[in-house]
């Protein structure tokens, strides 16, 4: 980026399954080429060599669930020229965010011996709730081709070409028969952001929304449609409350079905 110096890439982990950073190591054909273009300056899962930074691009996996991590993410931000979150945990709080609902519904403040600690531990929040984020890449896990596109875009100073349309668009492009129309299979594709390649409908199952809400997703309309075809309130609640439960449109939709239980 500056002169001939190779840009420095850092990969950070917070509360997560490691799957999104593993996507980088799953780029078997591109990994050594990528390592030729950038200096992998910090990537603890792959290397014991640690460069203190600053970094040109930081990829951040995982959500914030502890007081220590809430501090650590600020240090990562300070050391990073650009910061991109990778995956549902970093972008929406991930599956860990299911605790956010348990907190509200079941927990009673009086039972906590150390409320301050527990309350932080009890919520899982996305990176964007703590620091400024330059781009959020969706998916549980992220798609490795999209990941390479984002890395490449940031290294060349352009916006990543990541569509925000729904899975339906990808599904049509793939030439699939609609599983909902043809087989009555409940599918969250209409409200879910594209990026996976419409894998689930291609494997004869409905989309379960692991890429989070698509732009202007009409969850209410889809929920009504699914209810008319026999989905119960608990089923609708669970459908919207999974790997992206903390994403705003899904959180609202799942809470709508709480009262109906």
């Amino acid at each position: 980026m500056i002169g001939r110096r190779k840009p420095k890439l850092a990969v950070w982990k917070f509360s997560s399954c490691d799957g999104c950073q593993l996507s980088l190591l799953d780029c078997e054909d591109e990994l050594l080429a990528l390592a030729g273009e950038v200096e992998i300056a910090q990537f603890l899962e792959a290397s014991s060599a640690v460069d203190k930074g600053p970094y040109d691009l930081s990829l951040v996996e995982g959500s914030i669930t502890t007081p220590h991590d809430a501090e650590r993410i600020h240090a990562v931000r300070r050391a990073s020229r650009r910061l991109v979150t990778i995956g549902a945990c970093a972008t929406a709080g991930g599956i860990q965010a299911l605790r956010n609902f348990a907190d509200v519904r079941e927990f009673v403040a009086a039972v906590y011996p150390t409320p301050q600690y527990i309350s932080t531990l009890d919520r899982s929040s996305p990176i964007g709730a703590h620091v400024a984020v330059d781009f959020e890449l969706r998916g549980c896990p992220v798609n490795k081709h999209q990941l390479l596109e984002v890395v490449s875009a940031f290294l060349h100073g352009r916006r990543p070409a990541i569509p925000t349309s729904s899975v339906c668009v990808e599904c049509k492009l793939r030439g699939n028969v609609c599983v909902m129309v043809a087989h009555g299979t409940p599918c969250l594709g209409p409200v879910t952001q594209a990026g996976c390649g419409a894998i689930c409908p291609s494997y004869d199952r409905g989309c379960y929304a692991c890429f989070g809400p698509a732009e202007s997703a009409n969850t209410r309309s889809l929920a009504g449609w699914l209810a008319e075809r026999g989905a119960s309130a608990p089923e609708l609640l669970r459908a919207f409350r999974s790997f992206n439960a903390g994403a705003e449109p899904f959180r609202r939709e799942s809470e709508r079905h709480e009262d109906e239980r």
Partner: protein, 431 residues
């Protein structure tokens, strides 16, 4: 030397999955404490599972680990199908073996080539190692890619595959779809043999432990997705009796519970244990490679686990090809499943070792209670005992050298710290 204190400490272990550190305390020339610190934040999976439909368990538990999601899916479906009395089509069973082989290959090669080999050859990572050992790294990436190709074809994608369901799969492949995969696997099998030879030539510290090995044992197969829980000291029990023989304890320095045998304490699971209890059930090719690599029927040197992993990669390529050659599409992708109240127990062999699942369901199939014991929590105590036994006779080594060897000793286990920390659950949630 009197009163001398020495501490070997690694705050953040590199080249492991998840966040952990290690600590060895020495006083007066004696190891007084060894700890595998696990500070990866707990993720409460068993608590999330409560109130979810049993059909969601394979997708939810996959998210415990991005490196071995198939293992979680396999233990989940095995437990639920056993509890609900669902019979699985033999070809569905075979396809699951194929899928699981893909994960073993992908996960083992990641560890062998990218995480562990750099220790033996003196590099911080595989990318820098590639400058001098490019062929070995490229070969590793090619074999890993073949493993991922299996998971991507049968599962839909490499990480958190979408195609596994209770009762079978959503869609089963046509034989034609498996043809290019077989071609890729035949090449990978040859490369895996080369990988066994490569790692067998590494230098290994002179170090053996008298482990109690615990692994699944199946009468006719190298263990993967089913079998009885057997130990080298006489345990032989079905998965449903897990709690009768094993107990988990909470120690202050770990966000994971540590498992031990009620009767005898620490035990070892994973490649060394599987090999010790099942070597004769490897394919002839894998057996030949093991012999050539100098492995006896039992290997008690944990540093040589890298050789056993490479042999298991070769076996998994062989087994995957055997499944593909015998494949005929099942009449239907999945057996019908009806919910009912049930207690469900299952255990399979994740790449890192025994993975136990338990679910209690209500009449509608809603999960009332769940328990998951991953291999890394089972091996935690043994990692600490290994460190104590290893460091004791090597106190004359300079600190940096000894620290590096301690890190290598932890990596012998391919610890998956992300897997190990979904506990503390019940404590917090029910407080």
């Amino acid at each position: 030397m009197s009163g001398e204190r020495r501490t070997i400490k690694v705050d953040y272990l590199a080249r492991v999955e998840g966040e952990g550190g290690l600590l060895v305390k020495v006083r007066d020339g004696r190891v007084v404490e060894t700890r595998l610190d696990i500070f990866e934040p707990p993720r409460f999976f068993e608590a999330f599972l409560r109130g979810r439909a049993f059909t969601e368990a394979p997708d939810i538990t996959a998210r415990i680990c991005g490196i071995c999601p198939v293992a979680y899916q396999m233990s989940a479906v095995q437990a639920l199908e056993a509890g609900l009395g669902i019979a699985i089509d033999p070809q569905v069973r075979a396809l699951r073996r194929l899928l699981y082989c893909g994960e073993w290959i992908e996960s083992h090669v990641l560890h062998v080539t990218m995480l562990h080999a750099p220790d033996f050859l003196g590099y911080p990572d595989a990318v820098r190692m590639a400058a001098d050992h490019r062929d070995a790294v490229l070969r590793g990436l090619a074999v890993k890619k073949a493993g991922n190709a299996i998971v991507a074809l049968l599962g839909g994608r490499e990480i958190h595959p979408v195609n596994v369901r209770v009762g079978g799969f959503y869609r089963t492949p046509t034989p034609a779809e498996l043809v290019p995969l077989a071609e890729q696997l035949r090449a990978a099998r040859d490369q895996a043999y080369e990988m066994v030879r490569w790692v067998a030539g590494f230098e290994f510290p002179d170090f053996e432990r008298d482990y109690e090995f615990v692994a699944l044992v199946h009468p006719d197969e190298y263990p993967l997705a089913e079998g009885r829980i057997v130990s080298s000291r006489g345990l032989d029990a079905p998965a449903r009796d897990y709690d009768r023989h094993f107990v988990e304890e909470h120690v202050p320095h770990s966000n994971a519970l540590q498992a031990r045998l009620r009767e005898r304490g620490a035990y070892l699971c994973g490649p060394l244990a599987r090999y010790a209890l099942n070597a004769e059930r490897l394919s002839p090719l894998a057996r030949a490679a093991a012999r050539e690599a100098g492995l006896g029927d039992v290997c008690r040197n944990p540093f040589r686990s890298i050789v056993v992993r490479a042999v298991e990669v070769l076996w998994a390529c062989d087994e995957a090809l055997r499944v593909i050659e015998a494949y005929e599409p099942p009449a239907r992708p999945a057996a019908p499943v009806e919910p009912r109240a049930a207690s469900c127990y299952g255990a399979t062999e994740a790449p890192r070792g025994l993975l136990y699942h338990y679910y209690r369901l209500d009449a509608d199939g809603v999960v009332l209670d769940a328990k998951i014991v991953p291999p890394t929590s089972q091996n935690q105590r043994m990692v600490e005992e290994d460190l104590a036994a290893f460091v004791g006779p090597r106190l004359t080594l300079p600190n940096d050298r000894l620290t590096a060897q301690c890190e290598q000793a932890v990596r012998n286990y391919d610890p998956c710290i992300s897997c190990a920390t979904h506990f503390l659950t019940v404590k917090v949630e029910e407080a």
